[in-house]
């Protein structure tokens, strides 16, 4: 992304070359860094998934041994969550939050840069862990002890990488909270902020609250591994299930960290292409806030088969079902936004629409899993794999893809190739469903998760899923091509290529000046700020 070659209105010159990217304090540069890092990790982690699906194409062990297979499933999860999804949303936050609130930059621009550059350090540790004796961590992304205690040096590298990524997230979240609370242009009250900014404010609170808990629990893993502690060892008075409680206290808010910004992106795209205001802005804000608060009260729904007392199972079942209510409100509001709009179907809109439909399917399978007796049959089966891929790929990743198409014209000044975008969308949406819908059935008929080989009655759906996966993977290369092509050139986007867009960034040039809103924009009721 070569902003130096474009207009900038300050007397300071923007340097070119690696030093610029290493030392930048500019939210646009840092957003770009996060987005490229995320795309790279997405392709790497996706390739690991393709290796998994290649082995699972047929019963029997054809290419991989179980030890390496377990490394693949573990690292696919860790790299996608911490390397692809989270950094992508932070990239959006960096680019868009200051622009949408009329701020010149983030509250702590240098800290912002450090938050980014901690991630490649963590990625170094994670990726090189494949090459140490024993191979990469292979106990699942959830790292349950005692299995996690048995592993080799890669397991420690992963713990340290998690510490680095946690630090990055916590500092980034502090930055975002402070920016949103303190740097809004005068007149932009909280209830006049664009909905995307709200989702990031709440996500940042979740990050600041739960990433430290992850840090404490992986530290306990580390000391159990090397310093003789007995946190998770029954003989010493500890309990492996205690890890699960602490981990999922982080883990459940974590999945909302990965979906709330997606809600924000979709809530921005749909009104744009429906040419209608977002329906029920106030209830959308309250819904996101209630989802966030409730997310602290549901963690043990990941643990229904660990032997919780009945009272515990009942409490967590109720709290989990309760989250369906505000989530449902959001879906209804999106449909109401579209209702009697003047709808058009550019690529961002297609991704947003697919997200709404497919995320809802993921939500329903989540509701099925919330019901304890049903969960007893489905926990740790492919039904769960189907559920979280619907909410994380169709939910989070498709919003990211849609958001990239939506804002690429603003970031680069060029329109992306609409035809290629549409092809990418249809390939992705269809291949996604071919890959993951059969997994609901696999879970129902009894296929466990995290197995490299399976009984023949699971063979047909596995073959189908593997075919879908390869098409899905290949389609993302088309995305890479389309993005690069757009950066290098395309039809001039102009300030506002989307006639229905209403937020502040569309009042700036495309691309915006390197330092924008150095003077806070004056907000009148006529100025678009997301509420038109």
């Amino acid at each position: 992304m070569d902003l130096a070659a474009t207009r900038h209105t300050h007397h300071e010159t923007v340097s070119r070359g690696p030093m610029r990217w290493l030392t930048t304090t500019n939210h646009k540069d840092i957003g770009t860094l996060y987005l490229w890092f995320s795309l790279l990790m997405f392709l790497i982690a996706g390739s690991l998934a393709l290796l998994i699906r290649a082995e699972l194409f047929q019963p029997g062990l054809q290419f991989l041994q179980p030890a390496f297979f377990n490394q693949l499933t573990t690292m696919h999860g860790l790299l996608m969550i911490f390397g692809a999804i989270m950094p992508a949303f932070v990239g959006f936050a960096n680019w868009q939050v200051p622009l949408m609130i009329g701020a010149p930059d983030m509250a702590f621009p240098r800290l912002n840069n450090w938050s980014f550059w901690l991630l490649p350090a963590a990625a170094c540790l994670m990726l090189s862990s494949f090459f140490v004796p024993g191979g990469a961590a292979a106990a699942g992304w959830t790292m349950y002890p005692p299995l996690y205690i048995q592993g080799g040096i890669a397991y420690d590298m992963t713990i340290l990488a998690i510490h680095l990524m946690g630090l990055s997230s916590i500092l980034g979240a502090i930055n975002i909270i402070t920016t949103i609370l303190n740097l809004r242009t005068p007149g932009m009250t909280l209830m006049k902020m664009p909905i995307f900014v709200w989702t990031w404010l709440i996500t940042a609170y979740l990050l600041v609250a739960v990433m430290p808990v992850l840090a404490s629990v992986v530290t306990m893993l580390l000391t159990d591994r090397h310093f003789g502690t007995h946190f998770f060892d029954a003989a010493g008075g500890g309990d492996p299930v205690m890890f699960q409680h602490l981990f999922w206290f982080f883990g459940h808010p974590e999945v909302y960290i990965m979906i709330l910004p997606a809600f924000g992106i979709v809530s921005t795209i749909l009104p744009t292409f429906a040419r209608k205001p977002l329906f029920g802005y106030v209830s959308m804000v309250y819904a996101v806030a209630s989802i966030a608060i409730l997310s602290f009260l549901v963690w043990a729904h990941h643990m229904f088969t660990t032997g919780l007392p009945a009272g515990g199972q009942i409490f967590f079942m109720y709290s989990t079902m309760l989250i369906a209510i505000p989530t449902g409100v959001k879906v209804f509001n999106w449909v109401a936004t579209l209702w009697r709009g003047a709808n058009s179907f550019e690529t961002p809109m297609l991704f947003a629409l697919a997200m709404v439909c497919l995320f809802t399917i993921g939500g329903f399978s989540g509701l099925v899993l919330a019901i304890v007796p049903i969960d007893v049959q489905l926990q740790d089966t492919y039904y769960v794999v189907a559920h979280f891929h619907y909410v994380l790929f169709a939910g989070a990743a498709m919003s990211i893809l849609g958001g990239v198409y939506y804002w690429l014209p603003k970031w680069t000044g060029h329109m992306y190739d609409e035809r290629l975008g549409q092809i990418h969308f249809w390939l992705t949406a269809i291949a996604f469903n071919v890959t993951f819908f059969p997994m609901h059935f696999l879970g129902l008929v009894g296929m466990p998760r995290r197995i490299p080989d399976y009984a023949p009655q699971f063979a047909d759906f596995n073959m189908l899923a593997s075919i879908g996966a390869f098409v899905l993977g290949a389609s993302q290369l088309l995305f890479l091509y389309t993005v690069i092509k757009c950066i290098r050139g395309g039809a001039p986007a102009g300030d506002k290529p989307w006639e229905g867009a209403t937020t502040l960034e569309w009042t700036l040039s495309s691309p915006p000046p390197y330092h924008s809103f150095t003077t806070p924009p004056v907000l009148t009721t006529d100025t678009p700020h997301g509420l038109a």
Partner: protein, 379 residues
Amino acid sequence: MSRGMPFVAVAIVLAPGGALAELGFNLPPPATGIAREIYDLHTLVLWICVGIFAVVFLPMFYTLWRHRKAKGHVAASFRDNTRLEVLWTIVPALILVGMAWPATNLILAMKNVGDSDLTIKVTGRQWQWEYEYLDDGLRLVSTLATPRREIDGGNPRSAHYLLEVDRPLVVPTNRKVRLVVTATDVIHSWWIPAFGIKQDAIPGFIKEAWFRVEAPGTYRGQCVELCGIGHAFMPIVVEALPPEKFAAWKNEQMTATKNATAAAQTAANATLSLTELTTRGEQVYNANCAACHQPTGLGIPGAFPALDGSAIVTGPVAAHLDRIFNGKPGTAMTAFGKLKLLSDLDIAAVVTFERNSWHNHVTAPDNLVQPAEVAALPR
């Protein structure tokens, strides 16, 4: 979209769950009352979800098609409707209560382990299950029976590929069987889909569950919590017999155990030749050790040590015996002797085998271990 498509879709959606189950789309046919209730609850929840999906997305697709910019439609401008929003908050809440009520009752039923007819202790370990009938101490260890060469390709798959064991768990029909579940090393999980029972096996803790099978038959399940490289290879097979047949089986097993113990005692005092020990030792090795240490004895570097050229295997016998008998705490190396997984004879055999295999050629007399030496180890 052709006009016939909606009808096809509806037909697919309304196809009987039972038929779908046979096609491999749904939970398996229930073999217990609890499994049946779970099946029905799932059907209820599924149809509610399908219904809500239709109610929400049919209007969405309708408006996307009907109110298009390309057709010149002008957007409406409404941005809220309080009555509607209250309605679509309250109605889903009521639907959820409707689902939660039967679910709560079922949870309480599933947790009620009282008044059981027999209790079986289930122990998971890497990578097999052990069962102990607590009333009379009958123990059996259940290991995957599918041969390795089938898994690694080449041979045709057996009828119950990956779901067959050498010794199944045997239970009576129509009796409440209480399970006390634990593990010795890492977390495993015991699951029979047809029974509707899944219980994590937590090392050092006891977790309880129960089932009551209605019809005689063979029921299969798998370990369902990632437990290392053998996770996919530790199935569960339950044979349900009518109570009289179960009693008969039990007696037969108790007698066989008594005889086996006696035989082991005799063998323990016997002196075997090198060939006898290494032949038996190779069988023991392939069944118990090769999964980690590999048939080649080369192990997996960084994960499982090589035995070929190992200092412990070629060094003093005492250390070698100790490693196999007592295991190595904190690793996957199980205490094969202390946990009574291998008899004295088998341990003597496998030690002898390892000391004389691959590139290991330990000089006599340290290349041969008799069962009596193993019997002398502190228990």
